[in-house]
Every structure is written in C-alpha cells, then in structure tokens.
C-alpha cells in the first residue's frame, strides 16, 4: 500500500516520536509513506480564528500538492492536521463559491479529489495484519504478549471526532476505533468518561492554567477507570498530557503513548526505535511492570499445565495399577 504522507509541523519538532514510530510501523507492515513534497503548515489552531478563507486555503495547498504528485489518499496522523485537511476538503465541496475561489487564492489547480485519512482509520484497517504478526511472535516467545497485561484508556480528544460532518469515520460521542486497535495489539481498552473531552489544546503556552485543569481531569479519570496508561493520537494532546504533567505533581505519573508506539510494541519493534526516550513521563516503569506481570502469568500458566499433566499421569498410573 502506498499513501501520501502529510506529517505537519509538530511531527518535525515536539512530537518527533510520533513520526518515528509511524515510520517504523509502516515499514514493518509494508506501507510506503510518500511525504508530500514542499508541504506547508495547515494553519492549525490559529488560522480559523482569524480568517475562514485562510483556514481553508492553507490546508488546501497541501491537498493540491498531493493531487499534483499523483496521490488519491493522504495520511494525516496529527489529529489537528487531519481535522484541518479534512475540514478544508469538505468546505470546498460544500460551501458555495469555494471550489472556484480556493484555486484562485492558491494560484494552482485544485480539484479536491484527494481523500484524507486519519491514523485511527489506517490502523483499524491494518488490525488483521497486526494480529497476524503478533501470532507469529507468540509462537517464538516463551511468555505471552506483555501487552495483554496493559489496561489503556483510548483518548480521542476533539479533533478526530468533531465536527462529525467533516470527520465522521466513527461515533462522535462513543467512538470505538481506537479500542479496536488496542484489542488488535492484545491490550485491554478501559471504559472511561473523558475519551472525547478537550485537553486544553492550543492554550498550552498562552493559558497554561486552563490546560493543567482540563488535562488533569482527563488523567484522573483514566486512573480511576483502571488505566495503566493513556493512548493519544494528537501531538497537542500528547504535549498537554505528557509534557505538562510534570506541573501536576502526580504520584505515580501516568504514561501517555502514541497510538503508533503501541502498535510498534505489538509488532515487536524495540522501544528505542519508537522514540519513548523523548517522553517527559518515563515509560520504563510501565514496561517493567508489564514484563513482570507477563512472567507471572506465564509461570502460573506453566504451573497449571504441570499440575494438569501430573494429575493425568496419576490417573493413567492408577488405571494401570487396577488392570
């Protein structure tokens, strides 16, 4: 499978581990990502506040470039970029006048023919391939998949599910696609209340106190629901939940994983390739805990199997004694 790839600005900066883990996962699952040549910023959280046309034109330039480069589908893993790109495609299709106005403003042809795909949709579609690979790994390892010990809260935030008219690949209030990916990895999605609440988004710098309040509530609810970690698919959400967590003085801290990092672990890729060292909340204690639990589970299973075998042997011996 070949996809045009729109990384967006954060993937080259504060969320490099998202880009790294995505590339590692894509290579393992034989997906070719073709980065859109000379892509530009989608306008993210600022353009739409100042000028609606600009908020459509900035992402549309990238769709136009993808078109010119022969793509029919663009992967935008950053939730904010996905939202702006998909929103622009819908605006051009639906709002009167934009189909002619936007190419004019861009100064390049644009027929709005490219489909914008989110990371959740892509990974959901790849669930069978992920499961198949886990099956092969399971035959080689003496203990089970350590991710079977992981309880994780799928955090969607705003931009992957709203507005429903422009995202719409999952339910806006009770989305389940990330849970499907978690299950494909062998882990357990927890039921919780804050999956589609806002983390404070773009106020990370300009109104940090609001971000701390909103993100703290999300982490607290995940913990109360039995989660060992939170799963994110957005650089802004990850920054607010991971980087800003140090100001919340949580004990123990709550690890926050990118969805591609979880899939990478499930595929057996080494954590070093998945960029965990770039996190502010140390993920090592979580991995150690999962390995220990997997060891215990494997030992218990071996013990149960041995007991069963001994019982069967005793039964056979007794039978032999009788005859």
């Amino acid at each position: 499978m070949t996809l045009a790839y729109y990384p967006g600005c954060s993937m080259h900066g504060t969320s490099r581990e998202y880009d790294e883990s995505l590339r590692a996962v894509a290579a393992t699952l034989e997906i070719e990502l073709r980065e859109i040549d000379d892509w530009s910023c989608c306008g993210a959280s600022s353009a739409h506040i100042a000028d609606h046309l600009l908020a459509v034109a900035l992402p549309a330039r990238n769709l136009a470039l993808a078109e010119a480069q022969g793509a029919s589908e663009v992967l935008a893993p950053c939730a904010a970029c996905y939202n702006r790109l998909s929103g622009a495609a819908h605006a051009v299709a639906d709002e009167p006048g934009l189909a002619t106005k936007v190419p004019e403003v861009l100064g390049r042809p644009f027929t709005n023919s490219v489909q914008v795909t989110s990371i959740v949709e892509l990974l959901q579609g790849l669930a069978p391939a992920i499961e198949e690979r886990i099956g092969r790994l399971d035959r080689r390892r003496w203990r089970g998949n350590p991710l079977e010990q992981l309880n994780i809260a799928a955090y969607w935030g705003c931009l992957l599910v709203r507005p429903a008219a422009t995202t719409g690949f999952d339910d806006a209030e009770q989305p389940t696609g990330m849970d499907d990916v978690i299950r494909a990895c062998g882990a357990n999605p927890v039921k919780w209340n804050m999956a589609v609440e806002c983390c404070g988004g773009a106020f990370s710098v300009s109104r940090t106190s609001s971000v701390l309040r909103l993100s703290r509530a999300i982490i607290d609810d995940a913990r109360a629901s039995g989660a060992d970690a939170i799963l994110a698919a957005c650089p802004m959400c990850h920054g607010n939940l991971d980087f800003r967590q140090s100001a919340m003085n949580l004990d123990p801290p709550m690890p926050v994983l990118y969805i591609t990092q979880l899939v990478g672990l499930a595929l057996g890729l080494p954590p070093e390739r998945l960029g965990f060292a770039r996190h502010f909340v140390d993920t090592q204690p979580l991995f150690t805990q999962l390995a220990q639990k997997a060891d215990t589970a494997a030992a218990e299973a071996a013990e149960a199997a041995a007991a069963k075998a001994a019982k069967a042997a005793a039964k056979t011996a007794a039978k032999a004694g009788v005859s």
Partner: protein
C-alpha cells in the same frame, strides 16, 4: 472552557442574535473558546456555535474590536507570522515571538534544556521552497477579507440594515 467564560457559548449565541456587539466584543469569553466543537456536536437545534464564534472573532478583528486577551492574541499572531515567514511552524520561533509579544519572557524557560535533550526543538527552522507562495496566499486572503469588511460596512450604513446582522453568512466568503 465554558466554565472559564463569563459568557458561555449559549450566551454568546443569544447576544449574537441580538446583535449586541458591545457585550460580545468587550469580554474575553469569545477568545477563550478552543473550538473543541462540543457545543456544535451537542446542540439540539443544530446551531453551529463553534463556527459562529469563529465568525464573531473575525468580525471583532475587522471592526477594530481587537484580538482578545494579550497572551491569546500574542500566540495566534506569532503562529500566523511563523507560517508567513517560512511556510511552516517553527515551535522555537513561535515561542520566541510569543514571548516578545506577550511579555511572558521567562515562561517555560526552565524546560528548554529538557526539550533540547529530547530532540524536540530543532533550532533551525525549515523554510519551504514555496514560502513566497504562502505569502501570496495570505495576502490574497487578506484582500478578500478587506472586501468582505467593506461590504459589511456598507450594509451597516444602509438604512434598511437590521439590528442583528448574521455574522456567519456575511463574513464567511
């Protein structure tokens, strides 16, 4: 963010319907909306408050009513300026500009070494080849917005103009 707004989204919608610019523009509430879209997703009457709030912010700027509280305005202005200069957002550039505009010079200074250590702050911004194209896109959009503002002013001057202009349809190109 509704909890931090003096005027929560439903109040903003009511004042918009009433055309009460004074209440809308002399309050920070409009600028505290993060466009999480929850109100739009849950509105039982299919109003799209998130989109109306964006249009009201655009209108406020066009009518000279400002760009919101200093920190929030500084952030968005710096963000767009980064795009204009390089075509992409350099997070380092954004923070530097934001500090100059907001006056929050020492905010988050302590975390810079940790960010650098994690390779999260590339110091050299990547300027795209098409940066001139981005400048011209932004200029074209600004011209369109100026035309819309003129049209809006003409409607407001006309004696037949109602007291509650529909911000959404008038500002949206």
């Amino acid at each position: 963010m509704g909890g931090e707004m003096t005027l929560p989204p439903h109040d903003l919608m009511r004042y918009a319907i009433a055309g009460d610019r004074e209440r809308l523009f002399n309050d920070d509430s409009l600028w505290l909306c993060l466009t999480c879209e929850t109100c739009s997703a849950r509105c039982p009457n299919d109003v799209d408050p998130a989109r109306v709030i964006d249009a009201l912010r655009e209108l406020a700027a066009l009518e000279g009513a400002g760009h919101g509280p200093r920190n929030v305005a500084a952030f968005h202005k710096s963000f767009l300026e980064q795009i204009r200069m390089t075509g992409r957002l350099s997070e380092v550039g954004l923070i530097m500009q934001y500090k100059m505009r907001s006056g929050a010079l020492f905010q988050d200074v302590a975390v810079v070494p940790a960010m650098l250590e994690r390779g999260k702050l590339p110091l050299v911004p990547s300027r795209i080849r098409g940066h001139a194209e981005i400048k011209s896109i932004m200029a074209a959009c600004a011209r369109e917005q100026a035309l819309a503002a003129e049209a809006l002013a003409a409607t407001a001057d006309a004696p037949t103009a109602g007291p509650a202009p529909d911000a959404d349809s008038e500002v949206a190109p």
